[in-house]
Subunit: 634 residues, 3 copies
């Protein structure tokens, strides 16, 4: 049983100190419990090198804690001050065009720069020593939104040197690297690791194996950077360690970073994401303009619950219009409440609105808060208070089992970015399509990493787009007695980004081989005998396994052995939903198939129904208004 | 009363000297009065450093003047010769990606380079000394089309140094700058002005206050550059000083440059602008393909009449197809005549066609002239002669009063570029939409700068999209007894690009506050109770003022106190016209609402009617053919 | 009479040596005759500078030759190994943005780098000495796909130095260069050749004469580079010399390169080209998704037959999906056969599939071969064997005369890239439109270079878009008694990219002048009296010649003297076909006008009919299936 709680992000350094106490009281009165602070404050903590000014932070924590709030303290390493450049002129990240990513916003550091890493260790140590045992500081956040603004990849000299070392460690000899990457092709062989460069600015595409190695390296650098902070904090505090992942960021392996932390949190901007970061039809975007995509939040909740090994927060929750998406409309009244309850239904322990008061200055001045810049209540304040009151009745959460599992794998995202083969082949798009299809059923979904060894809890497993199927997962599938739908484009590669020979997917006991793959331009589809369609991608299957579904012209679309299916294409949305529905029925599950734009999530004790549509919907004896949440005991 | 006259642009250096006299005679015979020369001739005036060759220019001026033509002499500073780079290798402007903007076309100088500025002072002094008292030189042009080809902003080291100085002067202390920009946000604080960089190549968007300061600085550098020339010329000549602004360029404050000059001229390429630089539907672009947008020229005439404090020229008038737009069709027969008369009706003293003879070589070889490259008459020559004959009957112009005023503010254009908040929020687009709406009435319009203190001449005032409403303007509005329509997005910011607190617009006596703003993607609109619609932008209003118009769902769309209105959104074209029409009626004006694609402009003595459509239109007892001009005494 | 033969591309260095012999036997069994090897193997021939390892190549050639195969040996200069950069750090090509084009793929050398050219001479000499007299090596290929990946143009220092020399040789004096380019315009005059820069990164467009000179220079550098290899090979072998041009590459003059070689071959990827490199409507692209454009292959066969002065090969033939186009579907069954027969019908002596076995690694791992990565047969293997069997019955080819000629000129492509005047004016698009129109007739077409002196073999000649009409061609046209259709945009420029004065086209005996040109945006057209339409481009004609066709509003659309026509616009596809049909009839030809998507090509002995459509078509008493080939003796 976990307690549910609300919180908020606050920047005492932005406001006169005489305002802090009133703010803190008002937060508490609103029903907020947590307050995150400090993650961008380095220039105030250390205005000049070595000139430490922690006194104001002491007082801020005291003030907030004194009002009964629990503090999440952020390390300020996402925003090195300007003087850092004088000490480390080459610490800036470098973009793929070779331009340094200059000071003047945030996240301008290169993860591979040794001098900056030392500076981070220093400031984190100072903070940990001072606040590690502070009773008000009940959680820590490392850095802020790793990878946001495309900051995982850096093409700096520091990154190049580190990449050479990384390759030397991974491959041990340059001959082994040449063989692993197939560098005999086009005479790309190296004589020494010192000849290795980063895979940018090549004449035509670089070797995808080179790209994938660089992506793995870049992810590892984030893990290393975060671990350095986590190790220091662990030595000084028993409070849980958290990072606030940015939704829709795939450039590093969140499971790997999460392994060093206690809780996974993410920053949820449903309307910003729909405008900026989701592929969807104009009609879909218009329908959900003020609600956000109805599955995007749930997907991330389920993903980060896995990253956090069961412990999930929303560290930043959109409360109103934001500033950074191409278009920034206001949420429908009720959405700031709906989003919070949806997070709780998916297991979140805390949901913190970003931010307390809208800052009238700088980059995010048009980003709404719970308060307006003039301290009047913004619309979301009342909704937050309403959620807080609801939490008095439903303070606890326990997870309900999920009958459906979906495999999510960061390396596959990198692989298909390195080698899309079809211009619109996007791993996230594919996995999210599978998630949408599964969620239409109304049944709970768990997201699992690719190294999952035990599938026995699940009735249905989906694994689209996996670059490789690990031996661990193959073993799990071999013993799995539910329904598994693998593919398309799953298990066809070696871990070093070559085509697997013998040809994949090589699923346990399934005599099915992909002999040829095709990518399909928009408007082209492969018709199936059932009236369904594949789009984007189609594979030619051969082998002796049972053909569970044919194309219109008689070729295999799905082959299977018992419950283990391999699917040769990317179904369009309706087809994907039908496929999952069929699997669920085969697995003995009873899909709920809620009407309209309702979405469902069960906890151990309650069924939550969310209406993402702009009209009321009748369901289960209740009329759920637009942006409405309905729950009932199970 | 001002004389109206025609002219032409001529390049004696492009043609054999023995052709000059015949050209001059033919110009005079065509009825041309003015001839502009010299503005790109530096490499012929000074082929090597210090090697001055003014003799040919002496003879060219004598020849042209001898034929009765009046010369506009241009300073050649827009085209520094190649040897200048040997003297000042770092004089090149630098683009936002950090690339030097190389020699090989024009305008390759950085406004902030001190060495180049000295070179300009030197050559202008030499020209002024030699020709300042020449009786044929009756006007001077400084440089050519400041800002054309995106040349206002430069990211060079010279610009960076000058920007630091500019900031030091403006803010006096770095603490003041940090506070003004809100640099505490994301730890962007500076310790000294020497740490300041230009706002390019940042990881994510730079601080909009930083951007706005850089835009202001960049504009000031243009002013400074132009002033340096104006001061020298003033000391040597009594002839009027002119700059030829390029239409649709907003990157520097034309009012500020114009304050140092006597006449504002602009370069009018109606068909090129429609193809390249105006937002419009494909249908609109197809309908006006060979005429140009029917309001674009009038807008610029009215704008530059304000910039010139009443004195307006068209220095370059498109005579046929140009070379530089994406597509370059020929004008409808008659348009070269219509455009000239339209300019005169709006107060132009002179209209000069660009250029006399089409050059068969180099970048603009496909740019039509009055003559073809083989010296035969191009279609526009006869139209120019026809205008010249018409000017015999209507040689004078006196302005008629304009009942409608529209505020135009360059800083607001920079502000919304720095912080669009909606991807399609464009200041020019908004103001031009207001201008179109007003011009549908057929009534005269004046354009006014944002610091206007006296509105008493006007019945209707429009002020959309003003970043700030100055105290001057507020005072004028407080005493204004006509109808004013302010907003959307007007008066919500401080001059340093923060949100104003208390929230704006803070209009005199109007209890109306913008509590929240929304940007709307294409296809989304806010319906009003009258069937009208807002697009792009919508603001939530609150306060006790009268609601003059509601949205369909009952929220305020316009609030007012007497004649002072604040409008919460961006009306679509039809709605905007209806709003202005309603205001005009309230103000006691009688809109003319001409049919079809007719446009109207009154002078003190005559009403001019222009048919921009491709079909004839009956109006006021006359049939006005396509591309036709009709005038009648008032 | 020429023998027809099949072949394949093979990379012994990619496979274990113990697999070579079996591969060779299987090739021979499939009916393949030729095998191309070696063109990317430099890092295996010389793993470190001077460390030569030719033994494996000796054995590979022996093995292949021993199985009865004839070897085409490629020089490996398209893929300099990594160590070359240590010797020549500045040998990399530089892109227009100034970025070096880094190691990590292929073609990273600058054609102008003297050190790299010497390295190429060295390795080619070594190969020529060793294998020039090898009886199995029966042809040589120089480098690989010059210009592929936009590698003709380089903006390096080496290129700049070479361009200065090239200009000095061409113009002799800088004054002559200034005059030729019209550099007086915008003060662009140079004092010495050392001041010349490459035409990139200018503020606005550079002088098109400057661009054209740079394009000519760049083409000449390719010719020089290739000639250096050809001269060495000639000294050591009697085998024919070949280069494999990449289809749709226009950046250098293939006629000029071809003049130093014996056979022109090209690399034919019909489905990749349709996806990536042809302008066509979505419907067209969807219809031919799995066949490729029905005219693109024929066009290139006819072009390269001219480049090879009658000797044509396809060095690389697509056998299945490729990896490099935006979308990569599989060919319809039968297409790998159809494409080969179509090449033979157009005179190809050999067609080599690329490649033998799909490589499971590196950039092209998703590129199909005749074998799958697991050595099983891919679909194209059986089709290749089927073609081989067919060749037993039809082993010889003799060209049939072509009644229609189309002029193709690389310099014109460069000219209109430098000065499109209309954003969608593309030389290839225009010439290909003319080719399509002519091919609708079903009659044979020859493609001719612009310097053609003898047209007497032809009944119909087409020459659209020629920058200049050379004196040679004018003389040929003067004596031509067939039907010639010149224009649009032909003969209006001088060779130095100025407008010709007197105005063009100046065709012999044709009193017709282009007085003005217009470019037309999409959706705009000029209607002709016959219901046809011009799109993209329209010229105003004047003169006393007969008007053969009018526009709807009575202006000349085509003027003529006897059979010599000048056409004022770019006809849409249907209009172009009607124009060519009309000309053919006038010339006494009988167009075949085959139905559906059939295409026809006659040899001296047989008529070949190809069905590019996805449905069967009845023709000439036979039903030709989708992707079917039908031939009958003439």
């Amino acid at each position: 049983m976990t307690k549910r709680a609300l919180g908020v992000c606050y920047y005492p350094e932005h406001w006169p100190e005489d305002q802090w106490a009133a703010d803190a009281v008002r937060m508490a009165e609103t029903g907020l419990t947590w307050v995150r602070i400090g993650e961008f404050a380095w220039s105030r903590l250390e205005p000049r090198p070595g000139d430490l000014r922690f006194d104001w932070l002491d007082r801020a924590i005291d003030t907030l804690g004194g009002a009964g709030l629990k503090v999440v303290l952020g390390t300020p390493t996402a925003t090195p001050p300007r003087w850092m450049l004088d000490k480390h002129p080459d610490m800036l990240a470098v973009d793929a065009q070779g331009h340094p990513r200059k000071f003047g916003s945030r996240r301008h550091y290169c993860f591979s720069h040794p001098g900056y890493l030392e500076e981070c260790r220093r400031i984190v140590t100072l903070l940990a020593e001072r606040y590690g045992a502070n009773p008000h500081v009940q959680a820590w956040q490392t850095d802020n939104e790793y990878g946001c603004h495309d900051t995982t990849l850096s093409f700096s000299k520091a990154a190049r040197a580190a990449f050479r070392d990384w390759c030397a460690r991974r491959y041990q000899s340059v001959d082994a690297l040449n063989r692993a990457w197939g560098n005999v092709f086009w005479s790309m062989e190296y004589d020494s690791f010192d000849q290795l460069d980063l895979p940018n600015l090549t004449v035509t595409e670089p070797n995808p194996a080179h790209v994938l190695a660089f992506r793995r390296f870049s992810s590892d650098q984030v893990v290393r950077f975060n671990r350095a902070q986590a190790e220091i904090l662990r030595a000084h505090t028993d409070a849980p360690l958290i990072h606030n992942y940015m939704g829709r960021v795939l450039d590093f392996d969140h499971f790997d970073v999460g392994a060093d932390l206690d809780i996974a949190s993410w920053d949820s901007y449903p309307i910003g994401f729909l405008s900026d970061r989701l592929e969807a039809s104009p009609d879909h975007k218009a329908r959900f303009l003020r609600q956000g995509d109805p599955d995007c939040q749930a997907f991330h909740h389920d993903l980060y619950r896995a990253v956090g090994r069961g412990r999930l927060w929303v560290m930043e929750q959109q409360p109103g219009p934001v500033n950074w998406a191409p278009f920034n409309p206001a949420p429908l009244p009720g959405m700031a409440r709906l989003w919070a309850w949806e997070a709780f239904a998916h297991g979140a322990e805390a949901v913190c609105y970003f931010r307390w008061r809208q800052a009238p200055f700088a980059q995010e001045q048009q980003h709404a808060g719970l308060l307006r810049p003039d301290s009047e209540a913004a619309p979301a304040l009342a909704e937050a208070a309403q959620v807080a009151r609801g939490l008095r009745d439903l303070p606890d959460t326990a997870p309900a089992p999920a009958p459906i599992a979906l495999i999510f794998d960061y390396a596959s995202a990198w692989a298909w970015t390195a080698q899309p083969q079809g211009a619109d082949f996007d791993y996230f798009h594919l996995v999210f399509a599978a998630y949408r299809a599964a969620r239409r059923s109304g049944l709970n979904i768990d997201i699992l990493p690719a190294e999952t060894a035990d599938l026995s809890k699940y009735a249905v497993v989906l694994a689209p787009g996996l670059m490789t199927i690990s031996d661990t997962l193959k073993a799990a599938l071999a013993g799995f007695d539910g329904q598994a739908l693998i593919g398309p484009r799953s298990g066809l590669k070696t871990p070093e980004m070559s085509i697997a020979v013998p040809l994949g997917p090589a699923l346990p006991g399934l005599d099915c081989t992909v002999s040829l793959v095709e990518s399909l331009p928009p408007g082209t589809q492969v018709a199936l005998e059932t009236g369904e369609h594949f789009v984007h991608w189609f594979e030619h299957l051969e082998g002796g396994a049972e053909v569970a579904l044919h194309t219109n012209d008689g070729r295999p679309a799905i082959m299977r052995r018992d419950g283990l299916h391999y699917m040769a294409g990317w179904p369009d949305d309706a087809s994907f939903a039908l496929r999952v529905h069929t699997l669920c029925r085969r697995a003995g599950l009873v899909p709920l198939d809620p009407p309209g734009d309702l979405r469902i999530r069960d906890t151990a004790s309650h069924r939550f129904v969310f209406n993402y549509g702009p009209e009321p919907v009748d369901y289960d004896g209740a009329t759920i208004p637009a942006a409405g949440v309905h729950w009932s005991a199970l």
